[in-house]
Amino acid sequence: MTIDGLVYGYVANEETYPDKAVIIEEGSKGDWVYVILKGSAKVRKRTRKGVVTLDTLSEGDIFGEMVLLETGQELRSASVVAADGPVRLGVLDSERLVKDYGTLSSQLRALMRSLIRRLKETTDSVCNAVVENAERVHSLKLDQVLPSEPDKT
């Protein structure tokens, strides 16, 4: 995936993080929304047994949007860490993003909120399942990145 020109139009600033640098810390406050311009980053979440690596983000992927679009959520739900070398990020214009979001009808906003909330809850379910899996089945290790395209059941 490469950065989309229309998304790039929202980039207000650019930042570069060295390998393994924490871009977003789970549980911290913050409302910056980022897009990966170059490089990759890992999404990590704490569990009672350790940290689970949920996903690898690549160029064009947006992250940090949950806090901005989901009302009532103030804290970051997961950590994002630079992976496999430095990562160049675009910091999106939050004000413009919120303004755009505000133009949606209440129905579409409810739909978006529901989608984001559901992703958050399903991610929590996955973390619980990974911990249980690591304890019982041993087919997964906590620090291993979860498969990107699991077999559809």
Binding site: D4, L6, V7, Y10, D55, D61, I62, E65, L69, L92, L97, D100, Y101, T103, L104, S105, Q107, L108, A110, L111, M112, R113, S114, L115, I116, R117, R118, L119, E121, T122, T123, S125, V126, A129, V130, E132, N133, R136, V137, S139, L140, L146, P147, S148, E149, P150, D151, K152, T153
Partner: protein
């Protein structure tokens, strides 16, 4: 000139009316929002069914779950404001319902026809649509992962139930053959009888003796002996043990005594514990 102005006015009026009529026609085609009531336990949406309506919970609680074989995987519970069917709306390729939904209590829902939102969705700011699509993809992946991981855990649980339970053993027991000397605790005799310790744990041991030893003193269950031995690591230990079973050994002229420790001093317990540590 005046005629031209009148003509322009009429054309403009017609266009406005035509536009109004078109809007009305479009609106007429879109079914109005419906309010639906469900009793506790009613199925609202079934996974795999074809459906395009979007539901919003107004009152009550709705359980979202996936069906995998004959079991249900709980996804989440929606309260007022929660939306069902957004995935089908956002991903037109998902013709079948991705999950099932059931009323957990008497509930009231609002049903929207997606046509009412489709135009707005197409026209919404590009970046918001991009975020919606990205969130949808992540959600589909997480849903599939939950199902896959839950299946694996369920299979492991099932396999564990099918496996016969291992014989319970309270103490780790080590197979050994140790020379020992022993004498009855309640006898004033200074006799030193010989035996072979076979199997030893922190709770007791097996003692192989010659039958003729039993001629001199009682070797019945309940009899207590003071025993001295040297562990393979060179540690000398002594303790008191009580007979709990007497079995004729396979070798004629021998008896096998099952014994439990009666008195095992801290030093001896420590040496024995160290020796018993699995290597």
């Amino acid at each position: 000139m005046f005629c031209i102005l009148i003509a322009l006015y009429i054309i403009s009026k017609d266009r406005k009316e035509q536009q109004t009529m078109n809007t009305m026609n479009d609106k007429e085609k879109i079914p109005p929002v419906k309010f639906l009531h469900y009793k506790k336990g009613d199925l609202i949406v079934k996974q795999g069914d074809y459906g395009i309506s979007i539901y919003k919970v107004i009152k009550g609680k709705v359980q979202i779950f996936n069906e995998s074989g004959d079991k249900e995987i709980d996804i989440n519970t929606l309260g007022p404001g929660g939306v069902i069917g957004e995935m089908n709306f956002l991903d037109r390729a998902l013709e079948a319902r991705f999950s099932s939904a059931r009323a957990l209590e008497d509930s009231e829902l609002e049903a929207w026809h997606p046509a009412g939102l489709a135009d707005e969705y197409e026209q919404m700011p590009y970046i918001i649509r991009h975020i919606a699509n990205q969130t949808l993809k992540r959600l589909i992946r997480m849903n599939n992962l939950t199902a896959q991981l839950t299946d694996q855990v369920e299979e492991a649980k099932k396999a564990a139930q099918e496996e016969p339970a291992p014989a319970r053993r309270n103490f780790y027991r080590k197979g050994v053959i140790l020379d020992c000397v022993y004498r009855p605790v309640d006898s004033p005799s200074k006799a030193r009888l010989e035996g072979l310790i076979k199997d030893i744990s922190l709770s007791g041991m097996g003692l192989d003796i010659r039958t003729k030893n039993a001629l001199k003193f009682s070797h019945k269950p309940g009899a207590k002996f003071h025993i001295e031995t040297v562990l393979p690591n060179g540690k000398k230990i002594d303790f008191t043990a009580k007979i709990i079973s007497v079995i004729d050994d396979r070798t004629p002229g021998k008896l096998f005594l099952g014994m439990v420790f009666d008195e095992l001093a801290d030093g001896a317990r420590k040496s024995l514990g160290f020796f018993l540590m699995p290597t």
